[in-house]
């Protein structure tokens, strides 16, 4: 049934317990090659000399109490599964060992040979899949980074010929306008505008690719201050439209970084003001919920709203729901919001009744001190 002999390293100071393990392995199905040492130091010596299929580690050794031995073994034999052995009274520590990366724990005196054999085989199998998963994750992470830097360099390189295109269509208009009829000028103007839009889109792709990464450093960002700054930034369009930005209640500090949070709140507030046909656009920012160290903000507007079937689509890159003549923009804003929120371990979603405004919700981690107070 089991063709391979499994090498087992037993680190156990109690000779009686060691003998018991040896007897159980003898009656377990399959064949085991047991090497027994009494101290952790000797165990560490053995793992250096030879690779074992599994290590059985007693948690009460004279030279290593509790989880100390586990850590030492894990660093020296990274890919060998470890099963810890413990007495009935120490089950809690054994559970901790499993949390720290041991594959399993066994309570002495409560197992028989077939259970021990099974535990060993499961430990080996589980360790194998864990390691395979980690390799896959590392690979995935690497691919992701490659893709990001690819997006960045492609966007960057695309800008160069575009810049030229934009410049020369501008020069044609400036230098040769006299020799073109109205239609000729119209064509050139369209070309120039299209080049400008393309440039805008590439700029936004660059922002998207930059902000999708997790920030290098997370700091305390005061959302109240941020919204206040936004009010200044949007002052001109607020004045033009006779609108306002309101803050409902206190806004807490979050754990994040300024660049991403500016994009999140800037785009949501800007959209609320822009996609708005009410005589006086009002955008309200407030807190909807605080729980589990997270805060959920709402950004509510009295604008045109979003029909239910588009509520996911709007977060895609360059997704526009309206004609360019009606509302300017490339349609990258909400994609940037979504990626920026996710990069901060948050999320964003929308609720809306068509025609009666939209409410965007953003969940973000609270700044530590506020999370502790909540």
């Amino acid at each position: 049934m089991y063709s391979k002999t499994l090498s087992v390293l037993l680190i156990e100071d109690n000779a009686g317990d060691a003998r018991l393990i040896q007897e159980m392995l003898a009656e377990a199905p399959g064949s085991f090659d047991l090497l027994w040492v009494e101290l952790l130091a000797a165990g560490l010596e053995k793992v250096r000399e030879q690779r074992h299929d599994v290590i059985l580690l007693d948690l009460g050794l004279p030279d290593a109490q509790g989880l100390d031995g586990l850590g030492a073994l894990q660093t020296r034999a990274t890919n060998v599964p470890i099963v810890v052995l413990t007495g009935l009274s120490d089950e809690k520590v054994a559970c901790q060992a499993v949390e720290e990366g041991a594959q399993d724990y066994l309570i002495k005196g409560q197992i028989d040979g077939s259970q021990l054999g099974r535990a060993i085989r499961y430990a080996i199998g589980r360790k194998h899949s864990d390691d395979a998963l980690r390799v896959t994750l590392d690979e995935l992470e690497k691919r992701n980074q490659e893709l990001e830097s690819f997006t960045y360099s492609v966007s960057h390189d695309l800008k160069e010929p575009l810049r030229t295109l934009e410049a020369f269509s501008q020069f044609l208009l400036e230098d040769y306008a006299g020799r073109l009829d109205e239609q000729g000028k119209d064509y050139l103007t369209r070309m120039g505008k299209a080049a400008g839009r393309l440039k805008q889109m590439i700029e936004e792709l660059l922002v998207l690719s930059r902000l999708s990464r997790h920030p290098e450093e997370l700091v305390c960002v005061d959302v109240a201050q941020l919204v206040d700054d936004m009010r200044m930034a949007f002052q001109a369009s607020i004045d033009d439209a006779g609108g306002r930005i309101e803050v409902a209640g206190a806004l807490p500090c979050v754990l994040g970084d300024l660049a991403r949070l500016e994009q999140i709140f800037g785009n949501l507030i800007g959209n609320g003001l822009k996609f708005n046909k009410s005589g006086a656009p009002v955008v309200t920012v407030g807190v909807r919920d605080v729980s589990d160290g997270n805060v959920t903000f709402f950004v509510r507007d009295n604008g045109i709203g979003i029909e239910p079937q588009y509520r996911d689509k709007i977060f895609g890159v360059f997704q526009r729901l309206h004609r360019r003549e009606d509302y300017e923009g490339t349609g990258a804003g909400l994609a940037i919001v979504k990626r920026a929120a996710e990069a901060l371990h948050g999320r964003v979603w929308v609720e809306s009744e068509n025609g009666s405004g939209a409410t965007f919700n953003v969940t973000l981690p609270l700044w530590r001190e506020q999370a502790a107070a909540a």
Partner: protein, 144 residues
């Protein structure tokens, strides 16, 4: 009365489109100048620090950062360390305008910085900065 001479400008640029764009900006700016062009960093160094200089020392260098053979930063650094030309006004040109590039340019001794494409108003702005900075060294002809 002060006597004006043609401003000698060395443009170091490998991209032919950008070359055409910059030439046009000079025409529009109506700067009385002769434009000497180097197509890579080594050519620029030959002109500026070569053993037998190909022409008189320019009054201004417009230096692209991303250049074949020797890049703009290295040209800048080399010129600043060369006796005779070390104080020539240098304006860096770049497509990206990355903060790091701007900072590095000034650190290495650039006098100004323009983002490409070099359209009329960007050029005049940069020339004005350089003119103010180098008032005693470079005498620009009056704008017509």
């Amino acid at each position: 009365m002060e006597r004006y001479r043609l401003l000698r400008i060395l443009l170091v640029e490998d991209n032919p489109d950008d070359l055409a764009i910059t030439r046009r900006a000079f025409e529009k700016a109506d700067v009385a100048s002769t434009l000497l062009v180097a197509r890579d960093g080594r050519e620029a160094l030959d002109v500026l620090c070569g053993e037998s200089p190909r022409s008189a020392r320019p009054d201004l260098v417009l230096l692209d950062i991303n250049l074949p053979k020797v890049n703009g930063f290295d040209v800048l650094q080399h010129v600043r360390a060369s006796s005779g030309v070390s104080n020539v006004p240098i304006v860096m040109l770049t497509a990206s305008a990355r903060v790091e590039d701007v900072e590095r340019s000034y650190r290495l001794g650039a006098n100004s910085f323009i983002q490409k494409p070099i359209v009329f108003d960007r050029l005049t702005r940069a020339l004005e900065i350089v003119r103010q900075y180098w008032f005693d060294v470079v005498t620009l002809p009056p704008a017509s």
